[in-house]
């Protein structure tokens, strides 16, 4: 039982700049080989959770003040990103942070930083296999790629590191629905074929719950719901707040003040 757990967050609290508490006792489990989705509205603390895992809180003056993060059984909280990436955890940042003045292929090569000096040709082929659109653009500056290409680029760049745990922060943000579908299919294939464990942060719960095995819902720095992805898809609250369809199938009236308020807060 213990050793099929890749990541364990045990009641963690995160504080920025010593005073701003953002996470208040978050616990979650990611099993090996699974896709676990972390849902929640803007500002809920999803990105902060990922950064706590990847060590990227440190440069932002954030800290895990309570609880523990265990990766493959050993504690990693508050380690540096250099150490954590070398253990096999890679975070793909929100908002497609490409290297503008590097070509597409050079961007991918930065993904080999955790294993400098080792061969990487096979990994490039693997990335081009999953993202054929990148192959056609490999000599172009990333700064001139489209949003969809960039999302593929940053995900492919993460895969170049041969991660055991890949953290994806809002891959669907700002992309056209067809493109989102394509990208989610690729995420599922990567999980199936490479066996990469994935943590998927999304506001697009509809798409995320279609490919995830398990899901957590976060609100205000706390986990408020967790369940198998199927159950979450059927859950009336999730349906109402995330999937945009009320259980009855009819739109609720704005006169239903409580629901309106909650809806606003969620979205």
């Amino acid at each position: 039982m213990e050793n099929n757990i890749r990541l364990l967050l045990n009641n963690i609290s995160v504080v920025y700049s010593d005073v701003i508490q953002v996470l208040k006792g978050v616990s979650l489990t990611v099993k090996k080989g699974q896709i676990v989705s972390l849902l929640g509205s803007n500002g809920a603390g999803k990105t902060t959770t990922l950064k706590a895992v990847s060590g990227l809180l440190k440069p932002e003056n954030g800290k895990v003040t309570e609880g523990s993060i265990e990766y493959d059984g050993s504690p990693v909280q508050n380690s540096s990103p250099e150490e954590i990436t070398r253990k096999g955890i890679i975070q793909v940042l929100e908002g497609r942070q490409e290297f503008k003045y590097l070509t597409v292929e050079e961007n991918l090569r930065v993904g080999t930083a955790t294993r400098w000096g080792k061969p990487y040709k096979k990994d490039l082929e693997m990335v081009y296999h999953y993202f054929p659109a990148l192959l056609a653009r490999k000599g172009n500056l990333a700064g001139y790629c489209s949003g969809g290409e960039l999302q593929m680029l940053v995900m492919g760049r993460g895969l170049m590191a041969q991660p055991k745990l890949l953290l994806l922060d809002e891959p669907s943000l700002g992309l056209a629905p067809l493109l989102v579908k394509e990208i989610f299919q690729i995420i599922r294939r990567v999980n199936n074929e490479l066996g990469t464990t994935l943590m998927l942060v999304e506001q697009n719960a509809n798409m995320a719950l279609q490919i995830a095995h398990y899901g957590y819902v976060m609100e205000n720095g706390k986990i408020v719901m967790e369940s198998d992805a199927e159950d979450l898809r059927e859950n009336p609250d999730v349906k109402e707040f995330y999937l945009g369809t009320a259980a009855t199938g009819t739109l609720k009236s704005y006169k239903d003040v409580k629901s309106y308020k909650r809806r606003k807060r969620w979205l």
Binding site: S54, L56, P59, P81, E82, T85, R86, I90, Q91, V92, L93, Q97, E98, F99, K100, Y101, L102, E106, N107, R109, V110, G111, T112, A113, T114, W116, G117, L141, G143, Y144, G147, V154, R157, G158, A161
Partner: protein
Amino acid sequence: MEFFLQLLVNGLSLGFLYAVSALGFVMIFKSSSVLNFAHGELLAIGAFMFLVLSAWAKLPIILAFAITMIGSFALGFVVERLFLRPLIGEALIEVIMLTVGLAIMFKGIMLFIFGGDIHDYPKFLPEGLSMEWGAIQIPSVYVATFVIGILFLIIFGLFFKYSSQGIYMRSVADNQPAALSLGVHVKRVFALSWAIAALVCAMSGIVLGIINGVNVHELSSIGLKVFPVVILGGLDSIGGAIIGGVIIGLLETFTGGYISTSLREVIPYIVLVIILMVRPYGLFGLVEIERV
């Protein structure tokens, strides 16, 4: 015409020299946003290291050169580790003051050891290196400068374009958080850029020492010329630094040749002021890529 060609060659080789050392300055700035006011002192340290090894210890020239290169590379590393790293994340002005402080300290130490006199390297460049085309005579030191300058530029060009380490360095300059997320050792990149900067400075310092003699004041003031060079080229552009270096080198030699030798030293700064008035981001600063 011969005079013109001769000035052209002198100017180009001087320009390559400025370009090579400006490369170090730009690299530090690009990776860590630090303006290195100790640039000239790094030139001087390299030149004196070579003086000690070649003239005083009487090592074979090639060996003395190799040790100077390795020694200054190591010095760059140590300077970053000891002085710059504790200030990572501090305000820009503090870091600038630190490099000014370093400059004063280095200069003081060198003046203490070597005094303010001009020292000379042993003559080691073979006379056969000099070239003659008709009436044009290019002294061997300029030929050597030209060759070494181009060689260094090519080596660094290849390093940044193709080597993994070079690509990691560019990634840090481009988007530091993203580089960090992929496990790039950002601090190591800072250290490496100081090491490379010290190395290229030493290289330029030695050649300048061959041309003008080795003198603390002279070399550290030549170091100031990196400012017109990089501002001409755009602070964040390596290609711009090379073009900037060549332009300043040419301007200097042509002013010296056709107008007056006393104006020669002033011209780069006059150009600097003019450029800053018309193009505050330099002539070749990176064009910001913006998506719509």
